[in-house]
Symmetry: C2
Subunit: 333 residues, 2 copies
């Protein structure tokens, strides 16, 4: 069933059918209805390939992420797909893993698929070294790149992110002002957002004229998470803390579990703040206070931005949303 079949059945030329398909203006209402009728009856759908060949677009955007099973990323993927599909775009998902090489090759693969844009989820795509993000800037020469939770300057690159710096700063200030001055900062990687959060953490200390104790800043790798090594080490070193600011809820819960095991009272003797406001925070006990970084809003903003880019309208290259602190039971402000 192709455009020729339809044109024959409807007694018009393929050009007219094509015009109806793309609801081009220059078709008389009568012919249009006639063609539409035949199309519906024949259960016809245009062939995407042929379409793409001519238009050089397949109405598809690529979604790149490290690991779509990560709770936060899974949500982002969900919202993005929903928004994109609502606008007639398909989503090709591609998980790259955490290795730079794999990220690069995945991106290259996607580029060859003639998709219309690429959305990168997660600030981990923004590497330290300028040369390590070159592949992203290069890709931007071919199609628009949308960055979620990360920022990169460049032509045809658009960043949508949450104000992690201020959110963390404000949260830590709250802890400090609540007489919790030894605050453990837990984060997983020195990603763009990880660094923003750390900056916020430090800024809060500075604002209150408190020194930053580097021992309290912990970069947690997978190993540290699976065992309780991290906290044991701290404890052995004699490092005490009465507050925890974690870069994600999972880290916060590790701290919480450790504290419970040590019979430390929460929130009286220890206050904990997580990040992402994920479902995990409502599973633990006491339930976790967490910073909500607005995944859904980020995703809808990203999509509208992208549509604007497609329509060649002016678009801000960096949009920053602000987060909210969701207070539950691990803090008492």
């Amino acid at each position: 069933m192709n455009i020729y079949d339809i044109s024959q059945k409807a007694g018009v030329s393929i050009a007219t059918v094509s015009r109806v398909i793309n609801n081009s203006s220059n078709v008389s209402e009568k012919t249009k209805q006639k063609v539409l009728k035949v199309m519906n009856e024949s259960d016809y759908t245009p062939n995407v390939f042929a379409r793409g060949l001519g238009k050089k677009s397949m109405q598809t955007v690529g979604i790149l992420c490290m690991d779509s099973s990560d709770i936060y990323i899974a949500q982002a993927v969900y919202f993005l797909e929903r928004e994109l599909r609502a606008r007639g775009y398909n989503s090709i998902l591609c998980c790259t893993g955490y290795q730079l090489k794999d990220k690069q090759s995945s991106l290259k693969l996607l580029l060859s698929k003639q998709i219309d844009a690429i959305i990168l989820i997660g600030s981990s795509y923004i590497e330290e070294k300028e040369s390590d993000v070159a592949y992203i800037k290069n890709a931007a020469k071919q199609l628009p790149i949308i960055l979620l939770n990360g920022h990169l300057e460049g032509e045809n690159i658009y960043s949508i992110l949450c104000d992690d710096y201020n959110a963390t700063k404000d949260a830590v200030l709250k802890l400090i002002d609540n007489h919790k001055k030894e605050i453990l900062f837990l984060y997983r990687a020195a990603t763009y957002s990880g660094k923003q959060k750390l900056r916020g953490y430090k800024k809060a200390h500075q604002l209150r004229n408190l020194p930053v104790n580097e021992d309290l800043i912990c970069l947690c790798d997978e190993e540290a998470l699976n065992t309780t090594t991290l906290f044991d080490t701290l404890s052995k070193k004699g490092i005490r803390f009465n507050g925890v600011m974690a870069a994600d809820d999972q880290l916060a819960i590790k701290a919480l579990k450790y504290a419970r095991k040590q019979s430390i009272l929460i929130p009286q003797s220890l206050e904990i703040i997580g990040y992402n406001n994920s479902i995990l925070g409502t599973c633990c006990e006491p339930e976790l206070t967490s910073i909500d970084n607005k995944v859904e809003a980020i995703c809808t903003t990203a999509t509208t931005t992208l549509m604007r880019v497609f329509e060649a309208e002016d678009s801000t290259s960096k949009i920053v949303l602000s987060s909210t602190l969701i207070e539950r039971q691990t803090t008492r402000f």
Copy 2:
């Protein structure tokens, strides 16, 4: 940069270049190398559209699910995408929501994209009424359909699932034999797997000559989950239980939280078993005993099955994997 450019640079015809691209046999090693060299130097990638037009395949499979942000589904999506990509296939994600109408239209949309197969995640696609699954059977006329965690008889339909019936039966037997004879069964919807689990629950009772108390079988809608209504109602009715078998971890955690609030000792006075062995189970306290239904194994099996179907090899139309009980702190067997 297209096949003509390459053929010119290499001094051969486009047919030869095409043969090299698809590494067809009838090309001399010398010419092959020559062409490959030019291809690499020119950073050329074949146009997928043109390719699809000819081959009628775009090396892409559609992944349909209700909600990719659901923890379990998110994992499945992740594993599927990984396996498919490893075999050179792209994944188009499409979340359908829970309405039958939306499922149908999403499927139809996907069908029109000339993809090579469709994978349906979640047994909720298997509706009660025969007429409500007709759209799936119809789709199977066009391309192979893989069902994850659900089963449907039909030409060109392949089901990969876990043995929820036996897993639940065995788990409930353990509870019963552990002197927990009033077992609450919590489930979310009468999906295929939901019903299997319920069957297992009942069978266990039958095996131990225990009556099934229908009051203890609770279908939990969203509302019941958000409030504590469910448990309060039970309590008001004077319905007691000392065991909980939940169809997913989230439900189990609801029960757990309720019990904790009531100061019911776990696992002494109440034993709880969840389902899916999700990360949630390790966030709560005490940590949740849960049935691991092998998402990863299901996904890899699904992918290998699909590849076999593509190669027109014989393939089992129903593969059942067995699950494992992961014992943590909400039970003491």
